[in-house]
């Protein structure tokens, strides 16, 4: 009698056990939906005025939706605020996330923190701007050399071989400046090196770029073309050419897609703009970070595309989305 009773009790216990073992993940699942990776994105800025970074964020959100994660996006209000970015990154590391997508404001100053994060087992992927460190698992950015080549080829085709070309760069030693210049120079390498007037630094200041161009025009009356390597350099150069009425004689190829640059492009002041794809950059950044976290191999450097836009193809389906990424609110 007692043995039978015991068997029943054991069966009962086994049923409970089985229910528990099989049921726990179910309960767990119901209580807390599938274990998402904890991901932080530290941008150069989260300010609403910075269109580029807003589009990066849109790309990040698109990837987050597709890969079913909820990244927390943080960053300083102003783009140049390295100190605040360092502080923000420290706080992020305190939260011990699985991964951090970092768009570093400074090539060197964020390195110790990135190394600390990596030491804590946090996967770090850098976005847009590289870090002077080997710890980031991958680097996602526009291929600036390729972008430079596009600009160089365009200016090369616009300017006759006997007229000189100048390069207006932003800051000496900055990665984007170096890479873009390398690209431009390689595209212009068939030309007479004497007619490449060298690289002039605007220090990312439109006024300075304006001054540089004014001086160059004076100095080299047969100047045929200018390649401006970032937004402020392009705007400064464009204003100078417009003010001097030289836009038809001196060709300008620039970078980025600010409203003023687009205006210049439409009016023929700027002949072409090399435009990055920030949406894709944000998207690929999150995708890459997740691929690492989910155990898939990735390349150490992943480049996103850039596009050369001319006046005639400004409003194609593809390009208008790049040049005018944000749908404005309706009229008030």
């Amino acid at each position: 009698m007692h043995r039978r009773n015991g068997i029943i009790l054991v069966t009962f216990a086994v049923i409970l056990l089985v229910a528990g073992v099989f049921g726990w993940p179910f309960i767990h699942e119901i209580v807390q939906p599938s274990g998402d990776e904890l991901i932080y994105v530290v941008l150069k800025t989260t300010g609403p005025h910075m269109e580029f970074w807003q589009i990066v964020r849109a790309g990040i959100q698109a990837a987050a939706t597709e890969y079913d994660v909820s990244p927390t996006i943080v960053g300083p209000l102003w783009e140049k605020d390295v100190d605040e970015q360092i502080q923000i990154l420290e706080e992020v590391i305190e939260n011990r996330p699985d991964g951090i997508l970092l768009a570093a404001s400074d090539f060197n100053r964020l390195v110790p923190l990135a190394d600390k994060a990596a030491a804590l087992g946090i996967t770090v992927v850098t976005l847009d701007s590289a870090l002077n460190s080997d710890t980031p698992a991958s680097f996602v950015a526009t291929d600036n050399v390729a972008a430079g080549i596009k600009a160089g080829e365009e200016i090369g085709s616009l300017v006759p071989g006997n007229r000189p070309i100048a390069i207006v760069s932003h800051i000496q030693g900055v990665a984007t400046a170096i890479d873009r210049e390398t690209g431009v120079r390689s595209a212009l390498s068939p030309r007479n090196p004497a007619l490449i007037l060298g690289t002039f630094y605007s220090l990312n200041d439109t006024e300075r770029a304006y001054a540089i161009v004014s001086r160059l025009v004076e100095q080299y009356p047969d100047l045929g073309g200018i390649v401006a390597l970032n937004e402020n350099s392009t705007v400064g150069a464009g204003r100078a050419l417009q003010d001097m009425g030289l836009q038809d004689r001196i060709h300008l190829v620039g970078f980025d897609n600010s409203r003023e640059e687009i205006d210049f492009l439409e009016k023929g002041v700027v002949k072409a703009l090399v435009v990055q794809k920030p949406f894709n950059m944000g998207y690929v950044g999150i995708r890459t970070l997740l691929e690492i976290l989910r155990g898939r191999p990735v390349e150490p450097i992943i480049y996103t595309d850039s596009v050369l836009v001319r006046q005639e193809n400004m409003f194609t389906e593809e390009n208008q989305k790049l040049l005018f990424p944000i749908v404005q609110d309706r009229n008030p």
Binding site: R4, I8, T65, R259, K267, V284, V327, Q328
Partner: protein, 614 residues
Amino acid sequence: MKRQRKPRRIQTTIALAFTAVVFGTALVIALFSYTFTQDAVQETSQDYTGQLISQVQTSIDSYITHMENITEVVQLNEQVQNYIGGTRTLSPAEEANYRARITSFLNAISRTRNDISLILIAGTNGRVIIHDAEIVLNPAVVIPDQNWYTAALANPGSAAVSSSHVQNIVEGEYRWVITLSRTIDDPVTGETYGVMLVDLNFSVINTLVNRISLGKKGYLFIVDEEGRLVYHPRQELIYSNLETEHIDRVLTGSPGSFIVTDEKGERLYTIRASRRTGWRTVGVNYAAEMVRNRVTIQRYYVFGTLIAVVVAIVVSFLISHRISRPILRLRTSMQAVEQGNFDISVDITSDNEIGALAKDFNIMIAQIRELVRRNAQEQELKRKSELMALQNQITPHFLYNTLDSIIWMAEGKQYSNVVTTVSALAKLLRLSISRGDELIAIRDEIEHIRNYLTIQKLRYQDKLDFSITVDDSVLSLQTPKVILQPLVENAIYHGIKNKDAAGHVTISGTIEDHRVVVSIVDDGAGMSPERLEQVREELAGNNLRSTVDNPAVSQGLHHPHRRIRVGVRNVHDRIQLYFGKEYGLVFQSTPTSGTVVEVHLPIVHSPGEENAPS
């Protein structure tokens, strides 16, 4: 299965049955509900998507309709007709007048809704007019080269709707819009004067579509008839070939739905086409998300079933325990009774069948206890009454009389009579000494009474005569000891002795109606009817105890008259004690002609010949 199986407990049986029933029921219900729910969920999610898409479509169509209505109204405006259609050179005042009036007209229309960002009319005569006089045209734009202009001219009289695009016609403004354009024609000749443009701020549609959620990953996109994306949440990725969209299938297939399975997993495309714009609005649901729902439902059902079963097991154990525990207690009590312990009672007070059973069991035990007690008492009575019968057999009085007779016969030198008497007495004594079985053969009882009568005959001489005729078949049957002597004594004492003439006692034994009947017939004084009735009543009154235990009765035994009456009574009681109420003595008597006493006995074979053929 030679092994002896243990008897299964009721508790186990109930628990197993209950559990099995609940499990089965729960399983069937869960399966049915699950199937229904699953279908319902899938259907609901498809319906839901379809409804959402239709809603979006309807909203967009209503915007487009509104824009078209604007063109209808403007088209019919006479000022517009005259200004745009006119070829005459206007004076600056006329020009200003026209422009002011048309501008304020267009402005009024544009104000009706704030989602209209631009209304513009461009005449073939080169005159262009905008709803807001402050708006400056982009000098870089050449109107006849614009898509909306050529599209309207290609199809005069009907509206052309663009895909979403950036409107660059206004200087310094690059707004995402949807452009509706149509020709303005002469109402009479049908000649085209110009083209009118209405821009819908695309943010209206953007906001509308962004509000729609199709699960976590699902999304919605809109594509125009040429396959251009009007809206897609990941438009940039598609243009960069980082992502592909199944636009061809959306365009070629008829509206409805289709399923796509690729490296991104299974997706359900639900398509609605607009008659007005030709646009197709497409909802994309990830099957994995529907599956996630399904898995969740599955888990809920599995859980529900498991909980039901666990509860069933617990409850069934409790219930079956409650049922079986009193039964087990009852059984323990019964086992005690089997061991011979009748001094117990079961303490179960429940109100159900088990309680009733326990109550009946207690009553039964009480009755058995009473029966056992009564049985023991009756055994005791039998023993006492037999003792009494034996005591009555040869009384000192009888012995004295007999010995006196022998002396008297010896003095009269009647030696043969002496021998007969002494021999009879000796046999009588031996028989009475012989203690043994309670039942003896009728033969022995007859022999005993013969000896007794022989002695009495010597005493009463010619006054008493007797004859014994017993069937041979009766002789070997059984009877209680010493039942005839009190009756014969009674016959002599009350019958013959009171008669002047010689009396005759006849003893006969036969089988009648399956019973042994031994009759003692005397032809003595007989009994009056009253006396006979009195005797019968005495016999019928079941007061055996009184004859045996009553001290008054016992003390009166020395009186012959009294002793004989008690002896007869004793015989009757003993027979009934042994064989039951249907046996015993039957008296028949008529005054002066004698008395018949019948002894009714069952046919009882002696132990040795019980199975012998009779």
